[in-house]
Symmetry: C2
Subunit: 493 residues, 2 copies
């Protein structure tokens, strides 16, 4: 993400709203923890229905505040309500609870074992920091909000200042849908303002926070979360350059297709995706470079999300343009209202000498082409990478160099793609949108897909507790019919 999204000027005013929201959330917390997953599934579907029903108002509002086109925002709203309903389905399947039952065992190898049963339960009040670049899918009604409510955590969303009216309109729909479907008061609240955002992560009643945005803004909130008298988990998705490695076999077989695909992915949404491919590594002299230059020149820029992001984009390009080891291949790094797709180039040796400087993220339609001289050099670059959300290999089946690259890249990225493009993140069961720092602050977790619910849950074990006092997920009769690990073996009803 861009380095500016969390730092724009916001009205700095004390927020009595925050105290009201937190007090209501604290009150709602045990009520939510006591609900059955199927009840929360009803709430999530009610939210999805309310948003879908008002698409004709919400999409134009999003267009006016984000400069994104209608088709993109219509699709993003579809994604967002699909996501809410997918979490509802997850709740009904029940495997996400990771229920485990160890029956008492007097012959257990280390000494008699008591009856022990473990299940996941909600952490408590959650903060969600909305992003600018997906005004629906990573903002107020986005994946973090859906996952937190699915888990049974009350949510306080910090609105992104780039789309305040849309945030308020969506919040009003969420509140209405929750009320109408029987969710406790305090299940959801929207707060605004930079200082409120800082106060929120330091609030003593907060138990977990999620964030999608810039490395600088995310790290600042991460540091605040860690500095608390009672530190809390902070799930920040901060940044990634999403390198794409083109092997010699692929450059020989599909140079034109790769050049076109790369330019399309790099300029999609005016390059304002955290999965935008920002670095393209090509074999030197393989003939693909001029095709990439042509494809980038042939693609379009567009108005960016707001002026602050645009200014940050051009200022970042300025630092690249000043370097003697970098040359401009396409585009114009001079500040303008509508940025041109811009391509720089450098050599693998320069990249290996200055990986930190040359692999900085540029949020917008710009990328760096890197010429490498051997498969070993490509592997050396892969090994020099910081943590990434994604890493891509463009190759041909049976190419042993590519298999070696995939293995190294799995150590660096949350998602490894083969002959695909990293933009367009599917919401599904096997999705992983995460990765080692600085891609995220918590490598165990994902912020997209059903597995993202785990960020809002923690395990509790019950020892020797009578069946009637146990939560239904752990009772002998398994009344919810959920998959459970029983005495070590995974059982599906």
């Amino acid at each position: 993400m861009s380095d500016t999204t969390a730092e724009r000027s916001e009205s700095v005013q004390p927020s009595p709203d925050l105290d009201v929201a937190m007090a209501a959330a604290v009150k709602a917390s045990p009520l939510l923890a006591a609900t059955a997953p199927a009840e929360r599934a009803v709430w999530l579907r009610a939210i999805a229905d309310a948003l879908d029903a008002d698409a004709d108002t919400l999409v134009p509002l999003a267009m006016s505040e984000s400069h994104l086109p209608e088709q993109r925002l219509t699709g993003e709203l579809v994604r967002t309500t699909f996501q809410l309903r997918l979490f509802a389905e997850l709740l009904e399947r029940g495997a996400y609870l990771e229920a485990a039952v160890d029956h008492a065992d007097p012959t257990w190898g280390m000494g008699p074992r008591p009856d022990l049963r473990r299940v996941l339960r909600p952490l408590g009040v959650a903060a969600v920091y909305a992003a600018s670049n997906f005004p629906f899918a990573f903002s107020v009604p986005g994946g973090d909000t859906a996952a937190a409510i699915a888990a049974g955590c009350p949510v306080v969303v910090k609105a992104h200042p780039a789309h305040p009216e849309l945030s308020r309109a969506v919040a009003s729909h969420i509140e209405g849908a929750l009320r109408a479907s029987g969710a406790p008061d305090g299940t959801f609240a929207l707060v605004e303002g930079l200082q409120t955002g800082r106060d929120l992560v330091l609030h003593p009643d907060l138990t977990v926070a999620t964030f999608t945005g810039s490395l600088r803004g995310g790290r600042a909130l991460f540091d605040l979360a860690a500095s608390r008298p009672t530190p809390i988990p902070f799930y920040g998705e901060l940044g990634s350059v999403n390198p794409v490695f083109v092997t010699a076999s692929a450059a020989a077989a599909r140079a034109e297709e790769i050049a076109t695909g790369f330019a399309g992915s790099m300029t999609l949404g005016v390059g304002q995706f955290c999965t935008k491919p920002g670095v393209l590594l090509v074999p030197r002299g393989a003939g693909i470079e001029p095709l990439v230059v042509d494809a980038v020149r042939a693609s379009s820029g567009g108005v960016m999300l707001d002026d602050k992001i645009r200014d940050g984009f051009f200022s970042g390009l300025g630092t690249l343009a000043d370097r003697s080891d970098v040359e401009l291949l396409a585009g114009d790094p001079t500040s303008a209202d509508v940025p041109t797709p811009t391509l720089y180039a450098t050599d693998a040796a320069a990249l290996l000498a200055h990986p930190h400087e040359l692999l900085e993220e540029h949020f917008g339609p710009a990328a760096l082409l890197v010429r490498y001289d051997s498969p070993d050099e490509a592997v050396a670059i892969a090994n020099a990478l910081e943590g990434q959300l994604t890493a891509t290999v463009q190759s041909e089946e049976g190419d042993a160099d590519a298999a070696a690259l995939v293995s190294v890249l799995a150590d660096k990225a949350g998602r490894v793609l083969w002959n695909g493009w990293p933009t367009g993140v599917t919401v599904s069961y096997a999705q992983q949108h995460g990765g080692p720092y600085p891609a995220t602050t918590a490598p165990h977790f994902t912020s997209v897909g059903t597995a993202s619910i785990a960020r809002f849950l923690r395990p509790v074990a019950y020892q020797g507790v009578p069946d009637a006092v146990l939560p239904p997920s752990l009772q002998d009769a398994n009344p919810w019919g959920i998959p459970r690990t029983v005495d070590g073996a995974l059982l599906v009803e």
Copy 2:
């Protein structure tokens, strides 16, 4: 845990050993990541066999360095090698990999879905900070080491200075067993010294650290881990007072049994367990108090793990003894070589007025009895608790007050017990040894039981990657025969 375990004076000397150990671990890391779980199962069993075979040397060595009795240490070694073998079994079952396969789906509700497959893979080089109070089970060959190697992470163990000779002897067995069973060089190393411990958590090649010890020492390492340019997950198990709530029904039915059970659990191992019940809440005037006093008076103290821990114990008692809202019921808070089991008392009102001061952990054979006046007051105390490893309810079946308590305590503790005692932590599939801060620094995770392997793993998704390039866990044929979530449904082979 005690407030002193991580702060004793250790030889402060630069450690060239650390650089050697880290360099070897970095080299081993990709080799370990490429091994099959079944290979690592062989290594774990080899370590267990080597330790069992030398029990006659190791147990007396542990006795001489810890002052713990032979029977306890023999049992602890059984627990330790059982644990290593249980992780081997876990590796063979394969569910721990959480493999998920989403087949490509052109009809997916948010738009066509590519083939996506996710599996857990090792984080990289792990640091394990050993504890003093379990010289086997939470030290060099303990659960953290077992879980890290099981996950496929090379481990650098920071020895606890309370048992250096035992640490070295065990390390030598681990190294020999790993070598003999074919593990890569660098899979395991032992380092020593306070400064080395600090250098270790700041080492740029480290990816994860685990710690069992004092709140002060653990928080200091947590802060260092969070302060790194690249922060890493830090799993600290720091402290807990493990409250036990006795309801009126239990006090009426089983006062004598509860008094005896409590005194036994509180003084077990000279009270040097992180799960020692440090607070006993009883209904005022129910007649159980004098029985508890008698039972504590009738129990034995013992020599503590070392002089520093003993001094810390008496200094902690001093702060309690100075308070006007606390009275001494049994024992002698005056410094002595062998501490006496010591019981203080206070009222619920005082506890609710000063929860932080009165609920501080005292590592050793001491506890605080708290008189409460109503079930509502017991619930108020439960609500005032900080995060706990365990919380216990002593009650009778059908007691509605107890059911309400269990529900509140599940929000505060990692493990909730009914009519049991928190000491004696079973190693099993459903165990949860964790809890909200300050019990641990990471509430999602456990440091005991098979689920503790998750601390050393992170998910990676593969998008469109050819079958031959995928790890076996994700290949179409499922060659390891492991449980997988396929298109959202959990399938067991």
